[in-house]
């Protein structure tokens, strides 16, 4: 049952966000009408739009610095280095993936790239990992335990440095923009642990079952 719900919600990513957005706009207008604050509301609309653009331009400096540094890290082979460190851990998390299977390498690279905040590099590795994991998946079109766990891990965003947040903090004039790095690492470690524990637990509680009408051949 919830698979259908999951599909509906995930497929409707933008429309769900759209619903919340429209709700915010409508509620504000209604509240302003009741409270007699239409003038203030009109002023806020224009000034907020200008503020939003100023905010994003304020990101340019730190983002430029960080993306440059990350390119240097990539060329120095630091992604590969991190990947070597993550390998033993991944073998434990995914015992069903045989030793030396290409899925393992792709997952390791994806997680290493995510840790460095290289979102653009992480996504292709992640998709490759999902494709390779699908080779081991007996039920096409239904996520295997390994695929579900891998996706859950990716939604927990294990990141060593949250670059865009730091850029925002710096442009807002924080005394020490990086003072949230340590706390963020602890919180993200908790989130990742929760992802693994929940995924492992639910995998045991609800094993994949073939659909009643026979297997469809999914995959692109």
């Amino acid at each position: 049952m919830y698979q259908k719900f999951a599909l509906a919600v995930a497929g409707a990513d933008n429309s769900c966000m759209g619903f919340i957005w429209v709700l915010l706009l409508a509620a504000s207008t209604l509240a302003a009408a009741v409270g007699g604050r239409m003038d203030a509301l009109t002023g806020a609309i224009a000034s907020s739009a200008r503020t939003a653009v100023e905010l994003s331009l304020g990101l340019v400096g730190v983002m430029t610095l960080w993306l440059g540094l990350m390119k240097v890290a990539e060329e120095a082979g630091l992604v590969a280095l991190l990947a070597r460190g993550a390998r033993p851990l991944l073998r434990r998390l995914f015992p069903e993936v045989p030793e030396g299977h290409p899925a393992l390498g792709a997952m390791v690279m994806n997680i290493a790239a995510n840790m460095l905040g290289l979102g653009n590099a992480a996504t292709p590795f992640g998709i490759e990992a999902m494709r390779r994991l699908d080779e081991l998946n007996p039920h096409r079109g239904t996520a295997s335990d390994a695929q579900a766990l891998f996706c859950a891990l990716n939604t927990a965003s294990v990141q060593l440095v949250p670059a865009s947040i730091l850029a925002l903090r710096a442009s807002a004039g924080a005394r020490s923009p990086g003072d949230v790095i340590g706390p963020t690492l602890v919180a993200t470690a908790c989130a990742a642990t929760a992802a693994v524990v929940t995924a492992k637990l639910l995998a045991r509680l609800a094993p994949p079952r073939p659909r009643a009408g026979g297997e469809t051949t999914g995959g692109a």
């Binding site: 698979q3 503020t51 060329e75 699908d134 239904t142 949230v180 990742a192 992802a195 609800a206």
Partner: protein, 178 residues
């Protein structure tokens, strides 16, 4: 002790990476400067790419405040939000984070601007945004890329990870910044 370790980690992380990565790269024979410029070129584009989402969210939040709806909302939820240590201004983060990365950045930007980056709310919203992901987007991309339509437990596991990340953010920010 824990607090002190985190403070040191926070203070050292950026300068250490900024000095350490180029040193390692140089030792490994990377042409450091051209590589830096190559990557840095994307900085402007990345910042500009978030403009549409930032405008959408910051305008909506600006309207919510100017209309008085935010105050009413905060008053109504004050008993609950106060009890769990999440200020009303940070609540939109919890709703928006799993749905939209740009939107979450917009919420964070708004709180940082209005309450200050060194306030409790400002730090909490930063840690929350940094420790969680756009769960629905990640699932749509990875599952969609290989044609998996039944996600099984991936969605609940991802959402529980987000919830745990938010709860941990509150606890850690309270413990470290008191």
């Amino acid at each position: 002790m824990f607090r002190h370790a985190l403070e040191i980690l926070s203070a050292w992380a950026l300068p250490l990476l900024l000095a350490g990565i180029p040193i390692i790269a140089l030792a490994r024979g990377v042409k450091v400067y051209p590589a830096f410029l190559e990557g840095a070129k994307q900085g402007f584009e990345t910042a500009v790419r978030v403009i549409p989402a930032l405008v959408a969210i910051v305008v909506a939040l600006g309207m919510l405040k100017a209309s008085g709806a935010m105050d009413a909302f905060a008053r109504a939820l004050a008993p609950i939000t106060g009890a769990v240590g999440i200020p009303a201004s940070v609540l939109p983060m919890i709703i928006v984070r799993p749905l939209s990365g740009g939107g979450a950045l917009g919420v964070a930007a708004d709180v940082l601007r209005t309450e200050g980056p060194d306030s409790y709310a400002g730090r909490l919203v930063s840690v929350m945004a940094g420790s969680t992901e756009t769960t629905f987007y990640v699932l749509a991309v990875y599952m969609g890329a290989i044609g998996v339509t039944r996600y099984r437990h991936a969605l609940p596991a991802g959402l529980i990870a987000d919830a745990v990340g938010f709860a941990a953010s509150v606890l850690v920010v309270r413990a470290v910044f008191g």
